[in-house]
């Protein structure tokens, strides 16, 4: 490590504290835990205030649509009496084209309230466009730091499109080559500019999504007289799942099953220069989903407000070919051109609905905008150029980085369940050599939706 690197990293806590305007040490317990609920409630925003801020910014109240043709299609492959009604929240209708605007609205509002001159976010995804759009509306400056290029200066088309969109809103986009040192660049920019850290993992980044959970609960109930049986959430950093689940529960939908869905990218290393351009999904995949589920505090703030294992009832994976197939299906049968990455939960829902009864309801809780670069055509064309073979057959045989296998027909749209117990065990590994107090066990039980006795037997 260079001295430059070490010197900056040693100042990490001080820089982060100044850039979030929030003293995380106030919430720390002795031992391993912290007061999660106090951290979430202490920031001065009620649900009503969040709704108002979002409405003022053209965020939220997105259309809820019943996917009648896709439901009919899923029923073709269901047992008699099975095949739940599939609904979709068209989050692409938010300012900047994705649900990420809900998160950015609150973060940017907080930055403005605290008197920061600008905001910074580290993201190659839709969140960058969301922060840039909201910052434009608030009159704040904006810098987005992206992981963009491999060592041959080749970038994912999807990431190039997001850079364009951020620049359309007046943001400065800084593009990096592959590597976790992005955090080093991010820290040095925060230190240099004194801008606000619009982290995806701050309480603002998560509470902003609670309105989505509320809308789903309220809208499904007013349409059908009941809360949905299941909501499927595309899962990467865990924030989408955490915020949606918190909103649903707050609205009274306590029995609604929360299902996480990620694209299966097993075998590809997220920090590998070689693997970087051999994946067709830059988010919503297991490369983020699994590590952030089993260790949420790996994020860019001392304590992540995204804590998916507190809320997750099931975790499923789908393959890249399956998500592309459902992206095409959404366009062909419902007239909606969206995604592809945001359609991960749609692909899972198509398969999950077949395990549910016809009078039950499953909600796909997001869509995202599509466009040049960020569309199945350029992404498939790019995959081919990088030596990935496109095939038809059973997507479960897909080898990420080598093949993309499209379902040969709708019966091959399937999901796989990752046992929650194995994720919980991975989470606990970090503490196996700790001498844990009673309070630590209470914290772990809350983190993992287990009893204290169960936590003890897991060790």
């Amino acid at each position: 490590m260079s001295n430059l690197y070490d010197t900056l990293m040693a100042r990490k806590n001080e820089i982060i504290k100044a850039s979030v305007g929030l003293d995380y040490s106030l919430y720390e317990f002795e031992g391993i835990g912290f007061d999660y609920e106090k951290l979430m409630q202490d920031q001065g925003y009620s649900l009503e205030m969040i709704k108002e801020i979002q409405q003022d910014n053209m965020v939220g109240n997105t259309p809820l649509v019943e996917l009648k043709n896709i439901t009919k299609y899923a029923r073709k492959y269901s047992k008699p009496g099975y095949g739940a009604r599939i609904f979709l929240k068209d989050e692409a209708a938010n300012l900047s084209g994705s649900f990420k605007a809900r998160r950015a609205a609150l973060a940017v509002h907080q930055a403005k309230k605290l008197g920061y001159k600008g905001v910074i976010a580290a993201t190659s995804g839709n969140y960058g466009a969301a922060v840039a759009a909201l910052a434009a509306k608030a009159g704040l400056r904006c810098i987005i730091v992206q992981e963009s290029f491999d060592s041959n200066n080749v970038s994912q088309p999807e990431i190039l499109e997001k850079a364009r969109k951020c620049e359309a809103f007046g943001a400065e986009v800084i593009q990096m080559s592959v590597g976790p040192e992005l955090f080093y660049t991010f820290l040095s920019l925060l230190d240099e500019t004194k801008y606000f850290n619009a982290s995806l993992y701050s309480p603002y980044g998560i509470r902003g999504i609670e309105t989505l959970g509320h809308e789903i609960a309220d809208e499904i109930k007013s349409l059908t007289g009941k809360f949905p049986e299941a909501v499927v959430v595309t899962n990467a950093g865990g924030g989408n799942l955490t915020g949606t689940a918190r909103g649903l529960k707050d609205a009274g939908a306590i029995d609604t099953k929360i299902i996480a869905a990620s694209v299966n990218l097993y075998g590809l290393h997220m920090a590998s220069d070689h693997d970087f351009n051999r994946k067709s999904f830059t988010t919503g995949h297991t490369g983020f989903g699994i590590p952030f589920t089993t260790y949420p505090d790996r994020s860019d703030v001392p304590r992540s407000a995204a804590r998916p294992l507190r809320y997750m009832d099931q975790y499923v994976t789908v393959n890249q070919g399956t998500v592309f197939f459902m992206t095409e299906t959404l366009a062909l049968l419902e007239g909606m051109e969206r995604g592809p990455a945001g359609n991960t939960s749609l692909a899972a829902a198509f398969s999950l609905a077949q395990e549910m009864k016809q009078d039950e309801i499953i909600v796909v809780q997001e869509t995202e905008y599509t466009g040049a670069g960020k569309h199945l055509l350029p992404q498939l064309s790019f995959a081919k150029k990088n030596g990935v073979t496109l095939e038809f057959g059973n997507p479960e045989l897909e080898v990420p980085g080598k093949t993309i296998i499209f379902p040969e027909n709708g019966s091959f749209v399937t999901h796989k369940t990752i046992p929650l117990d194995s994720l919980r065990k991975t989470y606990l590994k970090r503490y196996q050599d700790f001498k844990l107090s009673d309070k630590d066990y209470v914290f772990l039980a809350e983190e993992l939706q287990l009893t204290i006795e169960q936590v003890k037997t897991y060790f």
């Binding site: 080559s177 220069d273 499209f406």
Partner: protein, 97 residues
């Protein structure tokens, strides 16, 4: 090729040499430097590939190797992908059969 002062350009800077990179990397990534690309207004008339200073859109100053002037967006809808037509056939055939 001289590029005039005030032109909008793109530069590249090596942030960390391979030996200075994080110790927690897969082997292929440890072999290559960590680089940054950023756009801004060129502060002095320069030649392509010179080390130059720019002012970014947020008013920051950055230094790096001059790679491109008037950088355009070149991403598009990619090449023709025949497999997408087969996807259409499968889905429509499967649904309406």
């Amino acid at each position: 090729m001289m590029i005039e002062q005030g032109a909008y350009v793109r530069i590249r800077r090596t942030v960390l040499q391979p030996q200075d990179r994080s110790s927690n990397l897969p082997e292929d990534t440890t072999l290559v430097p960590y680089k940054m690309w950023v756009k801004g207004y060129l502060q002095e008339e320069s030649d392509l590939f010179d080390i130059v200073t720019i002012k970014t859109i947020t008013g920051r100053t950055e230094t790096g190797r001059l790679k491109e002037s008037n950088p355009a967006y070149k991403h598009n809808y990619g090449d023709f992908v025949i497999e997408e037509l087969r996807l259409k056939d499968i889905i429509l055939g499967d649904f309406y059969e």
